[in-house]
Amino acid sequence: MSFGYPPLHAGSKKGITTVNDPLPQTEINLHGLRDALQTGLGSVAKKSTEVHPLELSELLNTDNYDQVRYAMLRSTQGIHAPLRLQMEKFLVEQPSRMSVFPPSHLHLEVLNGKDETIDFEDVLNAPEFWEKSVQAHVLMEKRADMYL
């Protein structure tokens, strides 16, 4: 039984190596079928497997760095140190209000130390310039588990 503890040695097989949501998941609706009305007709281009070498590494970047630090903390200070930090992060990531807009995660940024630095995430493609929009009704339906 795995409790999800941080590994003793960073880079061991227990660390994250794959992406949680593979790409085709976005096209499958709750009945397990391709929903053409929501996601459009299929095309060969969408099934292309050409991936930029940095795409996966950027997606997992924070997780990987965290795993290294947790492993170091576990070996120097004991299992309690990374567990306490992870507990704080878990509590703070919980969505607190029923909103379709993405939460600001201010507390999480303070815990990560991101409130005192600036990074490419704050300059390039900042949330006010996102081209995709969330369908509010679809999102609320998914949250309330009522599908029409």
Binding site: D21, Q25, E50, E116, T117, D122, L124, W130, S133, V134
Partner: protein, 278 residues
């Protein structure tokens, strides 16, 4: 407008959506646009009490000179400047982001940021992007530990030495530095050495040229001399001051005339209702 589903939210930072499309375009034979590179000669030298940074001012894209007078000496902090070689946009954005990071760090640490902190942050950032951010930098500055220059390669490795050269003209510049460098020079000697090194790069390397910019940093502060020396042909130099004083053109007559206009329509609009006062 594309919609994001619950499982596929958009993220900030670098976007890789167009990568597959770009690969398809390349396969069809459409060439990607040429990146503007600062194929460069940049040099840095430590003297007694400070550092001297020098760079040329040519930016090329393929075989074409894209900018005859670009600035390669980037501001990082009051006591720290950075020379950028490689893709021009990458060096520009990386150094501007680093200047912001250093300012925030100085505010939270409440002390002057040492050069080694800036170097460490730059190395970690460049290594994270595995060399795709093509920025070959020389960071130079004076902090509480003395003068220091460090060169950082695009993949994230760094080199610590009393004299450094980066860019396509670095071989020519390094030959001059190896011959003439002495420890504990004066500021004038160091500036002359850097000028000679950049000049060797400018004359022997196709991708370096135009002017020579110099930056002298001591414990008292930094001084950017731009341009230190100009290698422009005479034709490009501005021949005259082209702002003409008032009265150059003779005024024949002056007058005020009324413009006849017709009222086409009038409109009455309600202003904001004032709240009822009880």
């Amino acid at each position: 407008m594309a919609t994001a589903t619950f499982f596929d939210p958009e993220s900030s930072g670098f976007q890789f959506d167009n990568y597959a499309r770009n690969q398809q375009l390349v396969k069809q034979g459409i060439k990607p646009p040429k990146l503007m590179k600062t194929g460069t000669t940049t040099t840095a030298v430590i003297f007694k009490g400070g550092v001297v940074l020098g760079a040329d001012t040519r930016a090329t894209g393929g075989n074409i000179v894209m900018n005859k007078n670009c600035s390669k000496i980037h501001y990082l902090a009051k006591n720290m400047y950075c020379l950028g070689a490689g893709t021009a946009a990458d060096t520009e954005y990386t150094t501007r982001l680093m200047a912001g990071k250093l300012e925030l760090l100085a505010m939270s640490m409440r002390r002057i940021v040492p050069v080694k902190s800036a170097v460490r942050m730059l190395k970690q950032m460049l290594f994270r992007y595995q060399g795709h951010v093509s920025a070959a930098l020389i960071v130079g500055g004076v902090d509480m530990l003395g003068p220091k220059i460090v060169s950082i390669a695009p993949h994230g490795s760094s080199d610590n030495a009393p004299y450094l050269a980066m860019g396509s003209g670095s071989i020519a510049a390094m030959s001059v530095l190896e011959t003439n460098f002495r420890p504990d020079m004066t500021a004038e000697e160091a500036v002359k050495l850097v000028r000679d090194a950049i000049n060797a790069g400018v004359t022997n390397d196709l991708f370096s040229g135009s002017n020579i910019d110099i930056c002298v940093i001591t414990i008292d502060g930094a001084q950017v001399i731009r341009p230190y020396e100009q290698n422009q042909p005479e034709v490009l130099k501005k021949a005259n001051n082209y702002t003409f004083p008032r009265g150059t053109t003779t005024v024949l007559s002056q007058g005020v005339r009324k413009v006849d206009y017709h009222i086409v329509s009038t409109e009455i609009r309600k202003t904001d209702e004032e709240p009822m006062e009880t």
